[in-house]
Symmetry: C2
Subunit: 171 residues, 2 copies
């Protein structure tokens, strides 16, 4: 849907908030009847909380807003394919529709490793849309991990090459 | 292990706390190097939070206590087999060992529907022990759902039989 891209752009803004804190850049928004009612971004490191993924934070906030653990009439937009924890959470919250950007081949549980949102054995099924602003959602992650690798390489190079020692190093 | 039963008995106490609030009775404790550092019980209804499962609450609290999202050297004891959300959360938290009581054939994601804790494609594997105080952990759930069904039956029976109307009903 045309409106999906506008909401995913907001989720991307949330991902940039994560990046600004040095967190893996993933963002999410929850839309209820056409209105954004909650948002979140990955805070695992800054909160030291293993549950602090973008969509879990956003859904908890949405449940607070609605006063209900059931997220009827809601769509969750998230920049990265949800992991098993988050896919299970979306089922538990009875989220009717999930739109995500980039696939996560290493831990994705909506299409990549599992299809938890579409498992007929569970008590809820989710309508899934994938690839919404997928390139942008993937690039922000690729850029983040590239910059981390470059920083690590530069650090190692500095450690191995004595010519790069600073004055402080030899004092 | 012998000590497992003592810790599961504490998780069962947590399940009774849930039951006292009218919540589905599931409880959990987190043990770090032989000491209970956190506990929790199902609060989905009382908090109207779709993420408020016993083990997720307990693990969040344990991470706060340890100041780390990695629950190294921890065992999570939970009276019911974790659902996909909670099994994924236990992987995300790098929990080394999980002990649970009763199987959940409808939503269990450790052995019943999925084996998320033992998936070689994910970046962490969990040592799993099942059936610890399994009978007691299952019975508290069976009793809870039986009492709900009986209450519902009595209510329907009362609605259908005008002889059971109270004085207030006819005023």
């Amino acid at each position: 849907m045309k409106g999906d891209k506008a909401f995913m752009a907001l989720a991307l803004e949330e991902a940039r908030n994560a990046q600004a804190l040095g967190e893996v850049p993933v963002g999410a928004v929850v839309v209820h009847r056409g209105q954004v009612i909650a948002s979140g971004f990955n805070r695992r490191e800054s909160w030291q909380d293993p549950t602090a993924h973008a969509e879990l934070i956003a859904v908890k906030r949405a449940a607070e807003v609605l006063g209900s653990w059931r997220l009827d009439d809601c769509t969750v937009f998230v920049t990265l394919e949800p992991c098993p924890m988050c896919a299970g959470m979306l089922v538990n919250a009875r989220v009717p529709r999930v739109v995500y950007g980039a696939r996560d081949p290493k831990a994705g549980a909506i299409r990549s490793l599992y299809a938890i949102g579409e498992d007929p054995r569970l008590n809820h099924r989710i309508e899934v849309v994938e690839g919404c602003l997928g390139t942008a959602c993937g690039e922000i992650l690729t850029d983040f991990f590239r910059s981390i690798r470059q920083a690590q390489k530069a650090q190692r190079s500095g450690e191995e090459d004595p010519s790069t020692c600073s004055k402080d190093d030899v004092l």
